[in-house]
Structures are given as C-alpha cells and as structure tokens.
C-alpha cells in the first residue's frame, strides 16, 4: 500500500509538484523587498485599483453562477440537456482575449450596435467599453465563464453513476409532489454546488486578475490592479519590477482573504438555507423560460462575436458608421499561414500536456486516499490564484539554474503546470464523487482492480475525463507568460505570435489569430462532447 502510494504520487510530484514548489519559492524570494512594498503602498492607484479588481471578480463570479444555475435548472432532464455540452464547449473554446476583441467591436461607441442603433457620421459618446466601473469587462467575463461553469456542471450531473442516481431521486421527488423546480432546488442544486466550488474559485481568481481582457475592455483611471502590476512588471527598471512583484503578492493575499471569507459565507448560507431545503413539496416548476432566454442570449452573443471576429479578420478598415467593411482582403490570414511553425508547436504542446495531465491525475486519484487530495488541489488552486507573472518568473529562475531555458523540456513544463492544475480541479469532483458501490460490486465479482478501473470506472467517467482533457488542451493553447519566458525566443507558439501582433493594434490580424487560437480547442471540445455522451441515453 505504502509503495503504491509513493509510486502513484511520483509522476505528479516530478512533473508538476517539484517544479511548481521551486518556482513558487524562487518567486517569493524575489518578491521580498521592503523598498518595493513601501513603493507599492505609495502608489496612488493601489486601493482604487484593488477594489475595482475585487468588484469585477465578485460580480463576474456571482452573475455567471446565477445564470449557470438558472440555465441548468431549466434544461435539466429535458431533451435539450445533451445539446448543452457541445454548445457550451463551443463557447468555452473561444479564448478570452478573442472574445474581448469581438465583444468590444460589438458594444463600443463606434461598434456595430451603435452603428445599427444610432448611425450618423460620429459615434455616440457612450461609455460602453472602458467604463469606470468595469461593467463591460464584467459582462465579457460572465459571457465567457457561463460556458465554463455549464461544462463543469453538466459533466458533474451527467456522469454515468450520478446521472442515474439523480434521475431516480428526482422521480421519487416528483412522486412526492415536488414540481420540477422544487426537485432541482432541493436535490440537484446542492449536489451541483459542491462540484462547482473549485471551478468558481478559478472564475473568481481569473476575473480579478485578468490582464489582456482588461486592457481591451476595462477602465484605465484607475485600471484594475492586475494592469497596475502588469505595467510595473513590464518596466525595464528593476526597482519598478520589484514593486510589481510586491503588488502581485499583495493581490494574491487579498484574493486569499476573499476566498477564506467566502468559505465562511458558504457555511453560514448553508445554515440559512437548511429550512428551505428540507421544506415540504412545492409545485415550483423549473425556470424553463428564463433558462431559454438566458441560454439563447449567451449562444446568440457568442455566435455574433465569433462572426464579427471572422468579418474583422478580413477587413483591414471598417470605419463608423459602415455596417459592412468597405474593403475586404485575406492579407491577415495569408500572413498567419506564412509562418505555420508556431501553430504546430502549440498543437503538439496542447495535445501532449492534456493527455499527460489526465493520465497523471488518474494515477494520483487511483493511488491516493481522498483525504490526500488537498495536497494536490490546494497547490493547484494556489498556482492559479497567483498572477502568472510570479509563477512564470520563479519558474524561469529555476529553468535558468537547471539549463532548461529555451529547451523543449522547459517549454513542456511551462505549459504542463497550469494544465495539470486545471485538469486536477476539473476532475477531482467527478472522480471522488464516483459511487464506489459499482467498484465494490465489481470486486465482489472477483475482477482485478486494474480491470475494474479500465472497464467500469473509466467508461462511466468518460464525460468528465474528456472534458478535463479538453479543458487542459484549451488551457495549453492560450499559455503566454510563463511559456514565453521559458522559450526565451527559441520557440514560438501561436499565443506568443498573437500577443506580439496585438501590441501593434492591427485588428484584422489580431482577429485572425484569435480565431486560429479558438478553432483547435473548439474541435477538441466538440469531440469531447460527442464522445462523452452517455451511451444509454
């Protein structure tokens, strides 16, 4: 048993745990600088920027959770349920930055909506993007996070064993006089929420720390704290870099406090909700209509944004108030395909890291006691909660010492670190929630443990496994900061090309790269959705 435990933890430790820990230590060491902290607290934008970051993070998390719950409640046990996964996966595949660019062109004062609704020769003086409260940023975050939460929620509820279980419980509730809404609220939702806990943490951390999206849609005076930090870290002066690092730690601390507070809130809310959950049957029906409107809205907006990106990618110039670009051309796409190497590098990395991460996760889950999962999940969440520049910086320091800078190994680890974290978080709930009576039954039929896992557990957990792999693939496809540091100019990936070109502001080229970044994950997500369907439905 002991040997098995150690052996099972080995791949994860070597490929992920050790490099991550070393990177964190190095990152933290670099972040200890009294002068930098003093300078940070003298920064006039620190507090307003922090509030803005927390506000965007909380609002985006709350709204996306609310919408997700309504959509899932409305569609649960309907014919549309299985169409949900591929649809949401499609929305998930579009990178955040790509979505932000298309969304900005939709809602900006000089954007398509204003052209249709207002017209005239001059754009209206709207504050629809870069508004001082960060509302445009929140809206774009919510629209992108709903698909993520839908996919994770869907795969939790559609898992072979759980689906059958919940189905039975809902039938029982119906026979006791519960309406569909009542059954959802009292049976399905509490179980769902426990699965969504970690994904929600990711949503919150991402929403509070995002840089690229905030640059396109967020306010500037003050900007969100992540942009203040980002500016500092991008400076050539070491002192300013150190202030940025101090800022990154400060931000991580603030986020940690928020998460701790939300943990307390959860316990408190659960107590408040208990009477409601245990109340007798009610006829409340599922919010099908609201769900349809919300779901339809998200699909529609994502579709419009994607179409807009496609049009933008072939229009070098599209001035207000034209409804259609005056000239079109394929120059942007030609320049993308003129250098295909970064695309291949990205695809190869994404496929390898996703597959390896899922394998390593399975080995971990199958060899470790569930109580030990915190040694995986806490660092995983921590690694995602810390601004990428800190991890990337520490990792780079490590690679420099080990001579891994500019090597395929370095590049692999730089991609693998976040991919592994996401895969572990997405997979932990479904895997640990698996009803072990199936395995007990199999054991009783005197089958070998390995055979049981391969023949029973894996097929039943097919949906979450494929989802996790697809999420890993998608995460790898958009890695930028640590990857770029590790590559040191020796390798280029698609996001590196995209980010450098974005710095020049050529919108048609950016749109083309954004779509090129979206298409591979889209295919993978759709494939995962189709292959992951329960066979017995």
């Amino acid at each position: 048993m002991k040997v098995k435990t150690i052996a099972g933890a080995l791949p994860l430790g070597v490929l992920w745990g050790l490099p991550l820990m070393a990177a964190l230590v190095l990152g933290v060491v670099r972040g200890v600088d009294a002068d930098a902290w003093r300078a940070l607290f003298e920064h006039p934008q620190l507090w307003p920027a922090l509030w803005l970051s927390l506000f965007t993070g909380i609002a985006a998390t709350g709204l996306s959770l609310l919408c997700t719950l309504i959509i899932l409640a409305g569609l649960y046990r309907t014919r549309l349920w299985n169409a949900l996964q591929p649809m949401a996966a499609a929305g998930l595949a579009l990178p955040h930055l790509a979505f932000a660019i298309g969304f900005a062109f939709l809602v900006a004062p000089s954007g398509l909506l204003a052209r249709l609704a207002v017209g005239g020769t001059q754009p209206p003086q709207w504050s629809t993007i870069q508004d001082p409260w960060g509302l445009a940023l929140i809206a774009a975050l919510v629209l992108k996070e709903i698909p993520f939460l839908l996919v994770t929620g869907w795969s939790a509820l559609s898992r072979g064993d759980q689906a059958a279980h919940l189905d039975g419980q809902c039938r029982a509730a119906a026979s006791l006089g519960h309406g569909t809404g009542s059954a959802w609220l009292r049976i399905v939702q509490p179980q769902l929420l426990s699965h969504l806990r970690w994904p929600l943490v990711i949503v919150f951390v991402y929403g509070s720390t995002v840089v690229d999206k905030a640059l396109v849609l967020g306010p500037t005076q003050p900007p969100t704290l992540s942009l203040v930090i980002w500016n500092d870290l991008n400076d050539a002066e070491t002192a300013t870099n150190l202030r940025g690092l101090a800022g990154a730690f400060f931000m991580s601390l603030a986020l940690g406090l928020m998460l701790a507070a939300s943990g307390l809130m959860k316990t408190f809310m659960a107590r408040l909700a208990r009477p409601l959950l245990s109340a007798g049957p009610s006829l409340a029906s599922a919010p099908k209509r609201v769900a349809a409107i919300l779901g339809g809205g998200v699909v529609l907006l994502s579709g419009v944004v994607t179409l807009l990106l496609a049009v933008l990618s072939v229009s070098p110039r599209w001035p207000y108030p034209a409804i259609w670009p005056p000239v079109t051309g394929t120059k942007a796409w030609l320049s993308l395909f003129a250098t295909p190497a970064p695309l291949w590098t990205s695809l190869a990395l994404a496929a390898t890291t996703a597959v390896v991460a899922v394998l390593v996760a399975i080995i971990w889950f199958e060899t470790q006691d569930p109580s030990r999962d915190r040694y995986l999940l806490v660092p995983a969440l921590f690694s995602l909660a810390i601004p990428q520049l800190v991890i990337g910086g520490g990792q780079y320091g490590l690679f420099l010492t080990l001579g891994l800078v500019g090597t395929p190994t370095g590049l692999f680890i730089a991609h693998f670190t976040p991919v592994m974290a996401y895969v572990a978080i997405v997979l932990a709930g479904p895997w640990r929630g698996f009803d072990n009576r199936y395995m007990a039954a199999a054991r009783a039929l005197s089958s070998t443990p390995l055979r049981n896992v391969l023949r029973i557990k894996l097929p039943m957990l097919k949906a979450p496994l494929l989802t996790a792999a697809a999420v890993g693939f998608g995460v790898s496809m958009v890695q930028f900061v640590p990857a770029q540091l590790a590559a040191a100019g020796r390798y280029s990936t698609l996001p590196m090309e995209a980010v450098t070109l974005t710095s020049g502001g050529n919108r048609s080229l950016t749109a083309a790269y954004a779509l090129a970044l979206a298409i591979p994950p889209l295919i993978v997500f759709l494939a995962a959705g189709l292959l992951g369907r329960p066979r017995w439905r």
């Binding site: 005076q221 001035p319 040191a488 100019g489 502001g505």
Partner: protein
C-alpha cells in the same frame, strides 16, 4: 567622402580576396565577417507590425545570401522583456545568452548601459557607420540625452507626429494651444494614451516642451523641487484640456495602437505616432483612408533615434555586428524607408551616398505622408520621465 566610400568598397572585396594587404581596421572587420559566417543571430525586436516583421524576414534572406548568417527574429511585444532576460541570464552567470541583437532605445538602453549589460563599443567601428548623419541627426549618438558611446548602432529615426483624416481635420492643430481649441470645438474626439505608455509619456513631454518657459532645462538632470515649478504650466494646460477630451479626460486609451484603431473607426479625430511615415504606411496597408494627413507641431516635436545593441553575453557577437552593419547599408536603409514597406526614416546622410546608392531611396510621396517636417526637439534628460509619470498618476490616476 571618398576615403569612406573606398573603404566600404574595399571591405566588400576583402571578403572574397583575403590575401590583399589592407588597413588594420579593415583587417579587423574582415576577421569579424569571417567569424560571423555560419552563426545564428537571435534578433530580439518588437514585432507588433507585420510590415516590420516582413522587413526583418527580408533582411534575414539577404544576410544568409551575403554573409552566411542565419537571422532569427525573436518577436517581442515589449523590448523590456529582452532587457530583463539578459539581466537575469547575466545574474545567473549564463555566458551563452539567448539574445544576440536587440532593437532598443531610451530607458531600455539607459538601463542596460548603466547595468553594464552591453557589448562594445562596436557601433562606430562598423564600416557603414561612416555614412550616418551624425551632424544633421545628433540623436544618432545621443539616445534620450544619454551618450551612446558606441554601445548601440543607429537604425532609424523617430519623431512625434500626429495624423487624422483630412475630411475631419482640414486645418490640423499645429500647437498644443490649437489642440486645446480643437478639443473645445469637438469635445470628446481627442485624447492621448495613458502614461506610462511610451506615446502617452511622449505627449506629456511635448506639452512640457511647448508650455515651459525655459526649454533648455530639459537637457539636464532635474530635481524634484525644480520639477514642481517647471511642470506647473504642463499641469495647468492638462487641467484645461482634460474636460474636453474623450470621456472628459476621465479615461484614456491604454495604448497608441488602440488610439489609432479608434481613429480608424471614426471615434477620434486624430492619433499620434513616433514614426512620421506610419500614417502613410497604414494608408498603403488599407487601415486608414487615402485622405489621411500627417503633421507635426510648428515649434517642433520630440524626436529620437532607435538603435541596435548587442548584449554582453551574446553568443554570436561577430554575426550581430555584421547584421547591424548590414542594416545600416544603403540597400537596407533604403528599403526600410520605403513608405510601402516600412517607412522608417533613415539615419544615413544621403549626401554621403553615391548616386547609385541614393537611388535606393524612393522619395515619391504617397497619401498620408508627412508633408511639412518640423524641427526635432531632443528627448528630455532621463530624470524627467519618472517625475512626469508619477505626477500625472498622482493627479489623474484615480
């Protein structure tokens, strides 16, 4: 002129006929060329523009054919990335660095020079340096008030330039006062990028230069106390300007690129750039309309030079020098200055070139070209920049 030219011609020959006796400098150079052959130069250069990337790709083909050098463009979104990388490598004792040549100027150069991260001096020993217009373009040897001391080789010229659509700005504002007037007449259509964006900071320097009483102060180091007094007119002007700006001066676009996009979308009247030929290039590439015009302020605008530097831990120092020299050649500079290719103004003195080399520079004007160049105002001393940025942030940052 003649000796310089013959030396250039001679070095060309020297590569193929190594036995002929030669001056010591030439001997040194041909040794460098010989060593360079077969090396790979990792050229770290900002890559936000496909035109620039295409130009660097072309240079790579030429270098391969002429010198057997492989040029790899390491695409940066911010040059400070390369500065930090070299610093980290040197700190870690890594002698075989990842960068061989960096496109650089200003704060990044000052930092690398101060921290002794640069190889050299090499720049003024490059054979083609003799063609540089060091007298007419003094910024080719002084980078943001910092002497280059041969640690970087001039590559191209830059000067703050404004541009917009003639249909909307028939009479472009030729001073900050006229810009304020224009903002009053067309509220919400004028803005500038938020500092510390490079262009935003430059806009503030321009306001400073136009509003301060004694402009000679800009050339020297400034104390905090002196700055408060000298910058009073700058902030007095901004206080008046901001209420008429886009979003009433409460929000600013984060980058110049975004501002140019907003101009292209008709959301703004004008944008600004450091490359006087960028507007013409954007017209040629279809991003801006044919009716685009470019202008500079009457009194002159902030101008500087951008350079190529070799990190102290570069692996291919010889090939990096040959590359820098090639990029200074009339052929490379002429192509770079072409409005349809890149449009980056040359650092060379055309009068020093042979007629055949002069013909490499296409001087025909195209739509969007700057018609009436104004004098260059040199960059203020480096000590001004952090003070301007901090004071701006304090006043308008939150």
């Amino acid at each position: 002129m003649t000796p310089k030219l013959s030396r250039r011609g001679f070095t060309g020959l020297a590569a193929s006929l190594p036995f002929i006796g030669m001056a010591k400098a030439d001997e040194g150079w041909s040794a460098i060329e010989k060593e360079a052959s077969g090396q790979t130069v990792y050229f770290n250069a900002w890559a936000g523009s496909p035109q620039i990337n295409d130009y660097i790709f072309w240079a790579g083909l030429e270098l391969k054919a002429q010198h057997g050098i492989t040029l790899e463009h390491v695409k940066l979104s911010d040059t400070a990335e390369a500065v930090r990388r070299v610093r980290d490598e040197v700190t870690a004792g890594k002698a075989d660095g990842s960068a061989d040549l960096i496109w650089i100027n200003g704060e990044n150069f000052r930092t690398m020079k101060r921290e002794r991260l640069l190889f050299g001096p090499f720049a003024e020993d490059l054979p083609n340096f003799a063609l540089v217009d060091v007298d007419g373009k003094p910024t080719t040897r002084v980078d943001f008030a910092e002497a280059t001391e041969g640690l970087e080789s001039p590559w191209g010229m830059a000067q703050l330039t404004f541009f917009g659509d003639f249909a909307n700005v028939e009479e472009p504002p030729l001073s900050m006062m006229e810009l304020l007037e224009r903002a009053r007449v067309n509220p919400g259509t004028i803005t500038y990028p938020a500092p510390p964006d490079f262009h935003g900071t430059t806009f503030l320097k321009q306001v400073l230069a136009e509003t301060m009483t004694d402009r000679s102060m800009l050339a020297v180091s400034v104390t905090k106390e002196e700055f408060v007094e000298a910058s009073a007119p700058l902030f007095g002007f901004l206080d008046k300007l901001h209420e008429h700006l886009w979003r009433e001066g409460k929000q600013f676009p984060p980058t110049q690129a975004q501002m140019t996009q907003m101009l292209a979308d008709n959301e703004l009247l004008l944008s600004l750039t450091f490359n006087p030929n960028e507007p013409a290039n954007l017209v040629a590439n279809g991003m801006l309309p044919q009716s685009t015009i470019a202008w500079q302020h009457d009194i002159g605008t902030i101008g500087n030079t951008h350079f190529l530097a070799i990190p102290i831990n570069a692996r291919a120092k010889a090939a990096a020098q040959v590359t820098a020299n090639f990029l200074l050649s009339p052929k490379a500079q002429g192509r770079k200055a072409n409005l349809k290719i890149w449009g980056d103004p040359t650092v060379l003195d055309l009068d020093k070139l042979t007629p055949a080399d002069q013909a490499l520079f296409d001087t025909t004007s195209t739509p969007g070209a700057l018609l009436d160049p104004a004098p260059t105002i040199p960059e203020p001393h480096g000590s001004w920049v952090p003070l301007i940025e901090a004071a701006w942030l304090e006043r308008y940052g939150a």
